[in-house]
């Protein structure tokens, strides 16, 4: 079953993803850290799907779809931002900062 170890692993991966989002400056790497967090959540769904039935696996299916859509739109936004400012460094994108 491996329920406990799987949940622990997903907790560790999620924490690493959170640290990456807070630490990194590169917008694209930030997106990759978000994908890492989504993967950690998927692992929780799959681990609990062994107990609760197939619904968890189907939810992972939907999470992957939304992640793919999010990556497409997000990377298009990054592309548009890069065309304006010639950088993806988040510390230099401070136009809305008071």
């Amino acid at each position: 079953m491996l329920l406990g170890p799987s949940l622990a692993l997903s907790a560790v991966l999620f924490a690493i993803g959170v640290a990456g989002v807070l630490i990194r400056r590169n917008a694209i790497v930030l997106f990759m850290c978000i994908e890492l967090m989504l993967n950690a959540v998927n692992l929780t769904f799959i681990a609990l799907a062994q107990v609760h039935g197939m619904s968890g696996q189907i939810m992972v299916f939907f999470v992957m779809t939304v992640a793919a859509a999010e990556a497409a739109v997000g990377l298009a936004i990054i592309l548009a931002i890069f065309r304006h400012t010639q950088t993806v460094d988040l510390t230099q994108l401070n136009l809305l900062k008071g």
Partner: protein
């Protein structure tokens, strides 16, 4: 220690190390490749957790399609490895601190077993039979045994979850149109 636990440990170590390296690399390309490595390790773990179909989808869609999209954008923008400090000035302390607190809170879940989950959910006194509390799990295992891995997941996907499944197609269409509109110089 049985062989499944051992294999799980290998894949778990692989996933955690790859994720750590992914977060700490300067070059976005190597970050992306290490993230692909993490996803492969997770696919291995999915197989151990009786989700073979999701493992295949994980490799095809995540490690294949989504990460290729990331690599395309990285190479299109020609982003070099970061010069100067990799981290935001305050970010180092805040990031690691928040991650440690969150990780410590979430790690409590490692104590969970099927028995404990059943004990906490059911209203009956402790020592309840998990198969009575979670009949869906046994039913899903029986469905997988009789109709195969894909058959077991296809039946609820196209019956109980048919409407959400159709809505996803609209979502993907909207995302594709949105990406084109955003990325195109002039329409």
């Amino acid at each position: 220690m049985d062989v499944v636990t051992l294999v799980f440990g290998v894949f778990a170590l692989w996933a955690v190390v790859s994720a750590l390296v992914c977060v700490t690399r300067r070059s976005p390309i190597s970050s992306a490749m290490w993230l692909v490595s993490t996803m492969f390790a997770l696919a291995g773990i999915y197989v151990l957790l009786n989700a073979e179909f999701i493992a295949a989808i994980q490799v095809l869609v995540y490690a294949g399609a989504v990460m290729v999209l990331f690599l395309f954008v990285i190479m299109l923008l020609n982003v070099d490895a970061e010069i100067g400090p990799m981290r935001r000035s305050y970010g180092w302390v805040v990031g690691v601190g928040a991650a440690l607190v969150l990780g410590a809170q979430l790690l409590v879940m490692r104590g969970y077993s099927v028995q404990r989950l059943a004990d906490e959910i059911s209203t009956m006194p402790l020592g309840v039979d998990p198969s009575l509390v979670f009949p869906e799990g046994a039913a899903a295992r029986a469905a997988t045994a009789s109709r195969g891995v894909v058959g077991g997941i296809a039946e609820p996907l196209f019956q109980a979850y048919l409407i959400p499944f159709e809505i996803t197609s609209v979502l993907l269409l909207a995302a594709a149109i949105g990406a084109v509109v955003l990325a195109k110089k002039r329409l």
